[in-house]
């Protein structure tokens, strides 16, 4: 456990763990630096802080693509990444300064449920 439930980020992580106890990893990440504000992993193989750093670049690249497409009025709601056995979800906060990064096993957690859980917790970050 790498979070304090005194902070909004820590409470968000705790709330998501409560809704999805079988999750693989979860982190609240500062979108500018890529550093985790709070994180938790149930898998020794997955360090959510490292994964968060990589995923910050994914978010930035997508924002660059939107600029290239002149979609300035558009806003990325979330990014859903399907892997062989896992689903990774990135849910951006309304002001874009933070995002929640969640990893679940595809067999255990439906993509729509995982997405809805993040949607219900992201407001705590604002």
């Amino acid at each position: 456990m790498a979070y304090s439930n005194n902070s909004p980020a820590g409470r968000t992580v705790e709330g998501i763990i409560g809704d999805l106890p079988g999750l693989v990893a979860v982190a609240v990440v500062d979108a500018n630096s890529g550093m985790s504000l709070a994180s938790h992993s149930n898998s020794p193989a997955l360090n959510p802080d490292t994964a968060a750093a990589y995923n910050t670049e994914v978010v930035k690249q997508k924002q660059k693509a939107m600029s290239a497409l002149k979609l300035g009025s558009e806003k990325i709601e979330d990014i859903l990444i399907s892997l062989t056995n896992q689903t990774h979800l990135i849910k951006l906060a309304d002001n874009g300064s933070k995002f929640i990064y969640l990893v679940v096993n595809s067999r255990d957690t439906n993509l729509a449920i995982a997405r809805e859980v993040l949607r219900s917790h992201v407001y705590n970050l604002n």
Partner: protein, 152 residues
């Protein structure tokens, strides 16, 4: 679809030229799959904005189709290729069970962007549709089925 030989006699097209399919440089069995996928998706979704098959390593379009007034796929191909490369690098960096990137869905308020990687991970398809014309699940299914039917 426009072939490579017929295009060579034409003047270069502007990025906003309507209904263009960028042909593959080589007509080999390996490069015919991207064109086939684009054709299948175009047939299934006549109202789509942009669809492109993009090489992961180079970021170049292998084949693409743009609706009139839609931004050219070539403009964002490199950005999306970087996104896929970044994700593949992240997966290599993680120990444990090997995972392979299947697809990335980026829903926005008015548009849905989808990326689906071919089986060997060398190229991917980028699909952009309007959110009020197609649901995310349906767009994902059309993309998945088209790639399956094309054998990739």
């Amino acid at each position: 679809m426009t072939g490579a030989s017929s295009d060579s006699s034409l003047p270069p097209k502007r990025p906003h030229a309507a209904h263009r399919l960028v042909p593959l440089p080589l007509a080999s069995a390996a490069t015919s799959q991207p064109e086939k996928v684009i054709q299948l998706i175009k047939a299934e979704l006549p109202g789509l904005r942009v669809v492109a098959a993009i090489d992961v390593a180079s970021g170049k379009c292998l084949a693409s189709y743009c609706r009139p007034r839609a931004p050219a796929a070539e403009w964002v191909a490199e950005h999306h290729a970087t996104t896929v490369r970044q994700q593949q690098l992240a997966l290599q960096a993680w120990p444990g069970r090997p995972e392979q990137l299947t697809d990335m869905l980026i829903p926005m308020r008015r548009h849905l962007h989808l990326l689906r990687v071919a089986r060997k991970g060398e190229w991917f398809v980028y699909l952009a549709v309007k959110a009020d014309e197609l649901s995310l699940a349906l767009a994902r299914e059309v993309l998945r089925m088209a790639m399956k039917r094309a054998g990739c």
